[in-house]
């Protein structure tokens, strides 16, 4: 044992030799975390603390005023606050469900079925990991306009559901399922859909959780579909109104509190979902390699 002095990757308990790593991690963690703590702190600051000079980092007497102001700001536009929240919830849930379903079924076919062009399809998908949204935004808008789909609620959903990175991760994960398992199910008389639903889906749950998280972030955080494809205020999402509010009031000191509260409301669901699923996500990532 003493001859092997190598690294203990994934150690089970604390050891003095790990201290140096904590010395690296601590300051970085503080740098990464400060802006987020600041958002939490500012969101609960009353007006006089926002105006205080010298500026204080932490809130002293927390209030909910900023959150009330957001609701008030929204009702000025004539569309109730709840409307945006519902639009966001409905569209995000739809994005999550549809993208998970189409990724797992397409991933299964690309991983386990034999047909011509399979490799090419997956290669195209891998190349499209590089299609940055900014580059496809304009032609995508033109296509949607020509197809007469502007101002259609579905445009908050459908443009986001085909996620190349999602299909990529799920397919890599399904590759790990032994073919013999699927063959055995076939001999027992299960059809393809039963195999997908009863065998593949339970086994690749971690990958599906990851896709769900990514899909949720894509939909919940981005105001873009509302900005570009929707004109009707009653169809727009929460992210859109948060960004509108931020750009209108963010430059005033009073607006900072509201903006921080808005950022907090947008951020917290992401955080909660990620914390709940982080174990599964890391599990998926082990299979994320491009081969």
């Amino acid at each position: 044992m003493s001859s092997y002095q190598g690294t203990k990757i994934n150690p089970t308990k604390f050891d003095k030799s790990q201290l140096k790593f904590y010395f690296i991690l601590m300051p970085l963690a503080v740098f990464m975390l400060l802006p987020i703590i600041y958002i939490f702190s500012t969101a609960f600051k009353p007006l006089n603390e926002l105006f205080a000079y010298p500026p204080r980092f932490f809130v002293r007497r927390p209030t909910m005023d900023n959150f009330k102001d957001i609701i008030g700001f929204m009702s000025q536009s004539g569309v109730p606050f709840s409307r945006y929240v519902i639009n966001s919830l409905v569209s995000s849930v739809l994005v999550v469900i549809i993208s998970v379903l189409i990724c797992v079924s397409a991933g299964y076919v690309l991983s386990k079925k034999k047909f011509r062009g399979k490799k090419t399809l997956f290669a195209i998908n891998t190349v499209s990991l590089m299609f940055v949204p900014a580059a496809v935004k304009i032609p995508r808008y033109l296509l949607i306009e020509k197809a007469g789909l502007l101002n259609n609620f579905l445009m908050l959903v459908l443009p986001l559901v085909a996620m190349p990175v999602g299909l990529f991760l799920v397919k890599q994960f399904i590759d790990q399922i032994p073919d013999s398992l699927i063959e055995a199910a076939k001999i027992d008389g299960a059809n393809e859909y039963v195999i997908l639903w009863k065998i593949v889906v339970p086994m690749v749950m971690p990958a599906l959780m990851t896709v769900a998280i990514l899909a949720f972030q894509n939909s919940w955080n981005t105001p873009e579909p509302s900005t570009l494809y929707i004109n009707d205020d009653t169809l727009k999402t929460f992210a859109f109104y948060m960004s509108a509010l931020t750009s209108q009031t963010g430059n005033t000191v009073a607006g900072q509190g509201m903006s921080a509260a808005a950022a907090l409301i947008l951020f917290v669901p992401n955080l909660v979902i990620f914390i709940m699923m982080q174990n599964k996500v890391l599990n998926t990532m082990a299979y994320s390699g491009i081969k």
Binding site: G6, T7, L33, T42, F131, L143, A162
Partner: protein, 295 residues
């Protein structure tokens, strides 16, 4: 029996392919076609050959003087530096036990969940141009400056600020992939390596860790490249203006928006998009050469 399983291929693959074609593949194709036209969204597109590309390369002063150098500078720093940082952090995290590792990983990952207009507000306060800005307050107190600096509106500061903010939020899915990659390496490989004469941690990383996780390294690299080229728009978010003051923070993505959605010169914007995609593709190919095992 055979036929039946064939139809299931279409049913299962169909929805993804249709949506992928309409919202991803067709737009890219359309961008390529439009890039050879003049199109102002009102009249039908007029074929103009290579003239958009020629104008970009010969007449677009902003592109040559600001956008291209800014994009290259921004991506060259944010891409490789962010990538190395991701790997090193993943490696360091793998050296500590699970509980603290999970907490640190969560802390490093959270900023990548926040990218967007709303989080920019907070950076705006830190870099605010009056004495309420944290940076100004601290620097004034330390006596480093004698009056508040307009950080975000100053051409010489905007680029470094953009780089800091982007690096802050760059520990995303690529970082998680590399963390999982390091953790999944078979410990026996290390033992064997030490028997074969590896002497220190550095050699261990070079000869065992990186070669054992090449697939994750490549995935991380692609994600880092995409991130480096697409987060350049943060300059516009931070300054609140497109173009950014004196074009100091202008990158490809802003230039595309400027021509597409502000000037409605869609053909020109499409040509810029094609150039951006080509840039990403070329860089990714280089990454591919570095990490893909030749077999």
């Amino acid at each position: 029996m055979k036929r039946k399983s064939d139809s299931s291929i279409y049913v299962m693959l169909g929805p993804y392919i249709i949506l992928f074609l309409f919202f991803i593949a067709l737009p890219v194709l359309l961008a390529i076609i439009l890039s050879f036209t003049y199109f102002n969204t009102v009249q039908t597109p007029k074929f103009t050959g290579l003239s958009n590309y020629i104008s970009i390369l010969t007449q677009d002063d902003v592109f040559m003087k600001n956008v291209l150098p800014n994009t290259i500078k921004f991506s060259l720093i944010v891409g490789p530096f962010g990538y190395v940082l991701q790997f090193l952090l993943a490696w360091v995290l793998a050296q500590i036990p699970k509980k603290p590792r999970t907490i640190f990983a969560l802390i490093f990952y959270s900023p990548s969940m926040t990218i967007g207009v709303t989080m920019v507000v907070m950076w705006k306060v830190i870099f605010s141009g009056d004495q309420f800005g944290y940076l100004n307050y601290i620097f004034l107190n330390l006596g480093l400056i004698d009056k508040p600096v307009q950080w975000l509106q100053s051409p010489q500061y905007i680029m470094p600020i953009m780089i800091i903010v982007s690096l802050w939020s760059s520990m995303g899915i690529g970082f998680l992939a590399m963390l999982a990659g390091v953790l999944n390496i078979d410990p026996e490989l290390y033992e064997a390596g030490y028997i074969d004469g590896i002497k220190n941690r550095f050699q261990e990383i070079v000869y065992i860790t990186i070669p054992s996780m090449k697939p994750q390294m490549l995935f991380g690299a692609v994600m880092a490249i995409v991130n480096a080229f697409s987060t350049g728009q943060i300059g516009v978010d931070l300054t609140g203006a497109n173009p950014t003051p004196q074009n100091a923070g202008q990158t490809m993505v802003n230039h595309i928006e400027d021509y597409g959605f502000l000037r409605y010169d869609m053909g020109y914007a499409a040509a810029l998009s094609v150039i951006l995609l080509l840039m990403i593709y070329v860089v990714s190919q280089i990454a591919n050469k570095l990490f893909v095992e030749k077999d």
